[in-house]
Symmetry: C2
Subunit: 536 residues, 2 copies
Amino acid sequence: MLSIAIAQLNFLVGAVQTNLDKMIHTVEQAKKQNIDVIVFPELSLTGYPPEDLLLRNDFLTESEHALKILASHANNLIIIVGCPQFDNEQLYNCAAILENQKIKHYYKKRILPNYSVFDEQRYFSAGNEVYILEYKQHRLAITICEDIWQKQIIAENKQAGADIIISLNASPYHSEKIHLRQTLISQACKKNKVPLIYANLVGGQDELVFDGASFAVDSDGEIIFQAREFEEHLETIQLHQQQLIKSTLTQLYPRIPAIYQALKLGVRDYVTKNGFRGAILGLSGGIDSALVLAIAVDALGADNVEAVLMPSRYTQNMSNEDAIIEADALGVNFHNIPIENAVNAFSGMLEDIFKHTKTDTTEENIQARCRGVLLMAISNKQGKLLLTTGNKSEMSVGYATLYGDMAGGFAPIKDVPKLLVYELAKYRNSVSQVIPQRVIERPPSAELAPDQIDQDSLPAYDILDPILELYIEQDKSAKDIQALGFKTEDINRAITLVDRNEYKRRQAPPGIKITTKAFGRDRRFPITSGYRGQLK
Amino acid sequence: MLSIAIAQLNFLVGAVQTNLDKMIHTVEQAKKQNIDVIVFPELSLTGYPPEDLLLRNDFLTESEHALKILASHANNLIIIVGCPQFDNEQLYNCAAILENQKIKHYYKKRILPNYSVFDEQRYFSAGNEVYILEYKQHRLAITICEDIWQKQIIAENKQAGADIIISLNASPYHSEKIHLRQTLISQACKKNKVPLIYANLVGGQDELVFDGASFAVDSDGEIIFQAREFEEHLETIQLHQQQLIKSTLTQLYPRIPAIYQALKLGVRDYVTKNGFRGAILGLSGGIDSALVLAIAVDALGADNVEAVLMPSRYTQNMSNEDAIIEADALGVNFHNIPIENAVNAFSGMLEDIFKHTKTDTTEENIQARCRGVLLMAISNKQGKLLLTTGNKSEMSVGYATLYGDMAGGFAPIKDVPKLLVYELAKYRNSVSQVIPQRVIERPPSAELAPDQIDQDSLPAYDILDPILELYIEQDKSAKDIQALGFKTEDINRAITLVDRNEYKRRQAPPGIKITTKAFGRDRRFPITSGYRGQLK
């Protein structure tokens, strides 16, 4: 019988000493539970992804030093931990095996992802050897994340005599990911008749959320252990005669609640890991800010969130009323600052330059930017993070004002398309009513001009969102999209706006990836571009 | 005798049809000059770098189609052109050889850079074959950019019987690059006794400038042809009995004028390729905005540039006077809009929330943001690009206001450290006097508080800039820097600010890379980070 513990923990990128302390604490806990092997996720000593910190020798030296200290705690159990390591002047993404207070071996990750949000070939060389750890009559094959997404690697490990495969991961969340992971791994385990333990990181890091959701699969491909998602914990699985013993099977969140949890964790970790005293946001009475307020309060507590209402002459009474209802429902302190004085000041200052010109979006942008100045002033004065409230549909087509409603340090729903905003709002209301029904039902409006609604400028969201998903997430051509029955006019309007607004997105704050392709590190488009995808 | 033409041209990323038209025009020109072989740079059909456009099938299909059309023009000469190409479901960075109106061969780039600004392994698979084109009794080896930075590749090509090596490049500029290139290649050519023709792209693309500066080296390692830098042209080199005939040797720009040219080209191409009607900028009377104004005017012409003076109660008369002198010297139209009314409006609106709080940088930021709102309003109304004027020293330590002086679409001197700003200003004045001497001589100030100068908050620039270069460009540790004689206090102040201000840089507009490591795609640091590099 072998007890293997998964340390599904939340580490801070760059904070090697803090991460080490947490590991030592966990190892000491594990010893009390008579654990034989404890597994920390991929690169957990440095946090994932450390990005260009990996180009700094001082950082790598610190990590190497920390590993030695951790090794000194490896008595009466084996520690397997993800860390970077040089060998012959090449850097590798390793799993260090610590035994008898020594570093016994470095397993080198073989498959280095360099797509989507991943840049591992920027930093690492690829290993090319199977490693099997023999311990108490068991043969444990070690792999890291992407390795097992290549089917032949699991087969190779089995052929090399592995009783079980241990997989260290830093696998970021998107709404389809857990299903992808489990299907793929379950099939491979069944085919190769080998069990597998999947240990994943948990926590938010800039644009990424690691969902945890560690699990184990037996040699029939059955999931026999499922850890809680979006939470830290240490759980143990027993290996007996080359078979894993069935244990805790936590129910996974359904799709919408899982996305909500991911957003909550992403916000919480961005705020706390960056040392902010809390968060503020502009509350307009619209659905987007209502949802962001709920997420922020659920993530940080009502006392740490502050709302600011900033009505203009175009704000309907209903909007301000709804905003107040939202703040009250969640118990959040709010300010009410009409923006008219600032808008008038700018109009006066620009009168000379703008005479003989027509009113256009410039005037709308001035209003949004006055709000940006107010929110940033409060954020600066109070040390609270300003959250932006723009959704993915808006970010896609540039329906947002740079330095206006786009001003802020973090954009919780930047990767959430408008239709999904509604689903999340309804879900949150099903937990407890915090968003007035009419906010969900009325047509969305930026309220920057008289009687304005979003559909004056954009296709309806039930048309726009599917087009955007096809164009952005799936890289479909306009022709492919047309073949699915969408109108030429809607397609051309949508994709022209997507192409033209890369410059805005480049200056947007980071937000949480929840789809298969988010803006930011995940989608790298040139700003200067002659590409025109629209239909002729 | 073989006539080989280098088409050192400026292509637009994504604009396959436009690029094709330009190529056809150039090929027809070459035919009139009885050219045997014409060489277009790396990925010139798509522009470089096309980034995630390479993940779009419609884009790749368009490029493939364009290549066939270009091939139809390959009669009486050979065309060698950089383009992406699929083979067996893998994408390659290729040089297509077009002969007798057909695609004769695709040479596949063997060494794919994935460091610094390069992400080629995100898109491409690596080729593994030498290719020698036999034509009129000559044997031409084809290589692409990074290939020849690996010495064994030149040796392999020589061993395979090459008379000459043709190298297609998209090699971005930084101030040391041309020396690096020429030294390395000259040595390799001499060692392997083989001549080489180096064809490079020219033009600005977002953060990158391609400097052109194509050249040829004979088998003794001597440079026997040197093209002009930062300009388009078509030049011909003769190969006779396996030796290149000596031809035009343009004098290279010295370091400072070369940087100035790079900045000028970067600004010109960003503005024109993105279809702006011109540029505007805030002119403060300080050295940074003075330099950016001169670059913008030299790049775009005085008629296409507009300056805005926005004095506050902290602006010295001298500053406004100097700004006017600068605008007048360059013949630029300017506006003068005091910001007091807007600042007062915000102060009034925030009075309640801010009572019982102390004045801090919040109030300074409000001033900077009022200027941002004004400049963006003028930019929006007139369709002119707003240029920011922050330098690299400021960007490094976050001595700038997000959505204030950082508001704008392009940041020409973002990668220019403050001391280099002075050198460039002096150089520009040596061409013609456009910046008043006292602007160069007085201590720099943000003028956001009474009697403020930069050195109140920062180490002197002659201390700060070298520390920043060591820490950012060279990734040196605080200890390494200390060993060079800098004070602990200065080091800690500088690097703490660098680490803490990643969030600002992430929202900064793109700017032109001129050093070995620029912010943006070139330096990818996490925002959320526990890394603390300072001395204890």
